[in-house]
């Protein structure tokens, strides 16, 4: 569980920044400040990352609309970006060996598993961020014809979007890629994770998302402008400890949710803890008015908007390419909190 330690108030000054999603041509005039929600004065939203214009949007599209399980990763020791091909080969051999030992994966089907590692420079925030590293396991069944397409079995992505807090004072030999996204069977994750941990002396840990962080996410994402709101703002609450468990899904029409948020948010491009609290209180009290149930006493387990959805078990889905790096930035910060 990402523990959000409340640090002492650093300053009361709020900074104004261009709002999330606007491309900025020069350096952003402001930086991510403090941990998520830690600075009582405010939380600053960053502009789209510098490298958004470069690179192939197709390649980042593979991150969209998939359910990613989140991990935090401690810095990798002596990870050399020039050796990605070698690493792919070594990882492939490791996987094959594990399968021989009977430790990995799919039973029955004869599979050749191919490993590919690549850099994704499109996914980084500041100049100091390491470009993301994509790991893909694909297979071709020995039974299928030679020229058939490989099927992607599992994907993983190391990334760092505005992770300056971590990378700032990092010695040369270490590579900071604190956020890891995994999609695919758990057994593959286990094998791949083991290899990276052994090879680069790092530690993977599941990254949970606290209800507190979820409220920030839903408030932030509700405020994002989208061309046409296809899906509503949904909050899912769970009340597990009753004799019969109860789940409550509370979905609000996207226009109405945004209208509410717009009257609460005082300064564009900036969100304060107080504003998030007011937003949640409004939703809770509207609900209470109808049902006499105190949602604040239940557990918020999932939030969902047109931008992205996030589950407290540390599973996210990113839905909107324009805000992809914004979401990754939040998640990077959560990952860093867990590491430090």
């Amino acid at each position: 569980m990402a523990a959000m330690a409340v640090e002492s108030a650093e300053d009361g000054a709020a900074r104004t920044l261009p709002s999330l999603g606007r491309l900025s041509r020069g350096l952003p005039f402001g930086r991510a400040y403090g941990r998520l929600g830690n600075s009582p004065s405010g939380r600053l939203i960053l502009p789209a990352p510098l490298s958004q214009e470069s690179g192939d949007p197709q390649r980042t599209a593979l991150l969209l609309r998939k359910a990613w399980t989140l991990y935090s990763v401690t810095p990798l020791y002596r990870f050399c970006r020039g050796r990605l091909r070698d690493y792919a080969r070594l990882l492939g051999a490791f996987i094959a060996a594990e399968r021989q030992k009977g430790l990995a994966v799919e039973v029955g089907v004869e599979l050749d598993i191919k490993v590919a590692l690549s850099s994704l420079p499109e996914l980084q925030g500041s100049e100091q961020d390491q470009p993301a590293v994509l790991v893909q396991l694909s297979s071709r069944s020995r039974a299928s014809p030679k020229n058939s397409e490989d099927k992607i079995l599992w994907s993983g992505c190391f990334c760092c979007v505005y992770g300056d807090d971590l990378s700032e004072n990092m010695p040369e030999d270490f590579t900071c890629l604190p956020l890891f996204l995994a999609n695919g069977a758990e057994s593959y994750m286990s094998v791949v994770g083991n290899w990276f941990q052994k090879t680069f002396d790092c530690i993977f840990r599941r990254l949970a998302i606290s209800p507190f962080s979820l409220t920030w996410m839903v408030a932030m994402w509700t405020g994002c402008k989208v061309d046409k709101a296809t899906s509503g703002v949904e909050l899912v609450f769970s009340v597990p400890r009753l004799p019969q468990p109860l789940d409550i899904s509370y979905a609000i029409h996207p226009e109405d949710a945004k209208a509410l948020w717009d009257t609460i948010q005082k300064t564009p491009g900036e969100i304060t803890q107080e504003e998030v609290d007011v937003f949640m209180d409004c939703l809770y009290s509207h609900f209470h008015r109808h049902f006499k149930i105190h949602l604040s006493a239940t557990k918020l387990v999932k939030v969902s908007t047109a931008i992205a959805s996030a589950h407290c078990d540390g599973i996210v889905k990113m839905l909107h390419s324009q805000y992809l790096s914004g979401v990754l930035m939040l998640l990077t910060e959560l990952a860093i909190s867990q590491i430090q």
Partner: protein
């Protein structure tokens, strides 16, 4: 025997838990006891079903008999399906004598005249329930036996319970056939759905324990055990609040077991209101929300909210009226006029 029938019987037997196969085949009463003795019911299901199919082959089973086995399975495992409730109405007051043969004849005739290829199976049960299974085809295609609709009709009541297959386009025809066969004039779908068929029956037949306003229950004695504490004042207050909640719960939910529903859904189209000091949204249009409650046993779950401190007692009438109004889908709009804070459910 037709190979499609053989395959259908094989798959139906495979669905049944191994320990219950013999019992269901006996209920089916298509294979003789002597034939059943020849089957080894302790081997793997694949083999059991193969042996059963072979025996059915000996008896030249057709689809009609196979359909009966399917009804038997679905009657026992009725809670695997999702049931909707329909209510029929007739304009006249006369209570006509219900003629089962006439009902069946009219029902079959209506469906067959529209859709040449349908498989219709009836089975009556002791509680006056008539189970109907319909497998749907088209004038050019044989019925799809794997996606049938099931209807449960208690002839003494105007209620029909339908578990439609995925093929929703056949629903209007099914409804029409029902009213024609039962001599009603109209049928409408109620906003009530659940996996538990018996609970739905409890709700619409009002078989759950009624809550009578004239009955004043005594405060519950010895239900909640309070830990002993030195400060007597604290215990006393807590106890009376807990008793108040229990009493209110009992008034609203009654004493007996609650009907089993899995969800309740509310489409809210009311105004957003905040306390005046919050300088927030004050639109003239509704704040549109969709709220869905889910639980393996929703009403028990809601009943336990106030005692758990998660809700006020008495609980909102929007939740407590579910059983009495016999619905679990609601659309809530703002009530206009004198009482802007109250809600209306159509």
């Amino acid at each position: 025997m037709d190979e499609t029938v053989a395959e259908y019987i094989r798959r139906t037997v495979l669905k049944i838990p191994r320990d219950e196969i013999k019992m269901m085949l006996q209920k089916w009463d298509f294979l003789s006891e002597a034939q059943l003795q020849t089957v080894n019911f302790h081997q793997i299901k694949d083999n059991i079903s193969q042996e059963v199919v072979q025996l059915c082959e000996e008896n030249s089973a057709d689809i009609k008999q196979a359909a009966v086995l399917d009804i038997i399975y679905n009657h026992i495992y009725q809670n695997k399906r999702m049931w909707s409730v329909y209510q029929m109405r007739k304009t006249g007051e006369e209570l006509e004598y219900f003629d089962l043969t006439d009902f069946k004849k009219k029902f079959k005739r209506r469906l067959r005249s529209a859709l040449k290829n349908v498989t219709i199976t009836f089975r009556e049960y002791e509680d006056n329930a008539i189970w109907i299974r319909v497998a749907w085809g088209t004038p050019y295609r044989q019925p799809n036996q794997y996606k049938p609709s099931y209807v449960v009709y208690h002839s003494q009541t105007p209620y029909v319970f339908i578990s439609a297959s995925v093929l929703k386009s056949n629903l209007p025809l099914l409804c029409q056939a029902l009213i024609i066969a039962s001599n009603y004039h109209e049928i409408r779908e109620m906003e009530l759905r659940s996996h538990s068929l018996n609970s739905l029956k409890d709700i619409v037949f009002k078989r759950y324990s009624q809550n009578f306003q004239t009955y004043c229950p005594k405060p519950l004695q010895g239900r909640t055990v309070e830990p002993e504490s030195v400060d007597l004042r604290i215990i006393h207050e807590n106890k009376s609040e807990k008793e108040r909640i229990q009493r209110l719960n009992q008034e609203v939910f009654g004493n007996g077991p609650q009907p089993i529903l899995q969800f309740a859904q509310y489409k809210l189209e009311t105004m957003f209101k905040s306390s005046p000091e919050m300088d927030v949204l004050d639109k003239k249009e509704p704040f549109r929300c969709l709220v869905k409650f889910s639980s393996p046993h929703l009403l028990e779950s809601l009943k336990s909210l106030a005692p758990a401190g998660m809700a006020d007692a008495p609980l909102s009438p929007l939740l407590t009226c579910i059983t009495q109004k016999a619905r679990n889908y609601f659309r809530i709009r703002e009530k206009k006029g004198l009482f802007p804070d109250s809600f209306v459910s159509p």
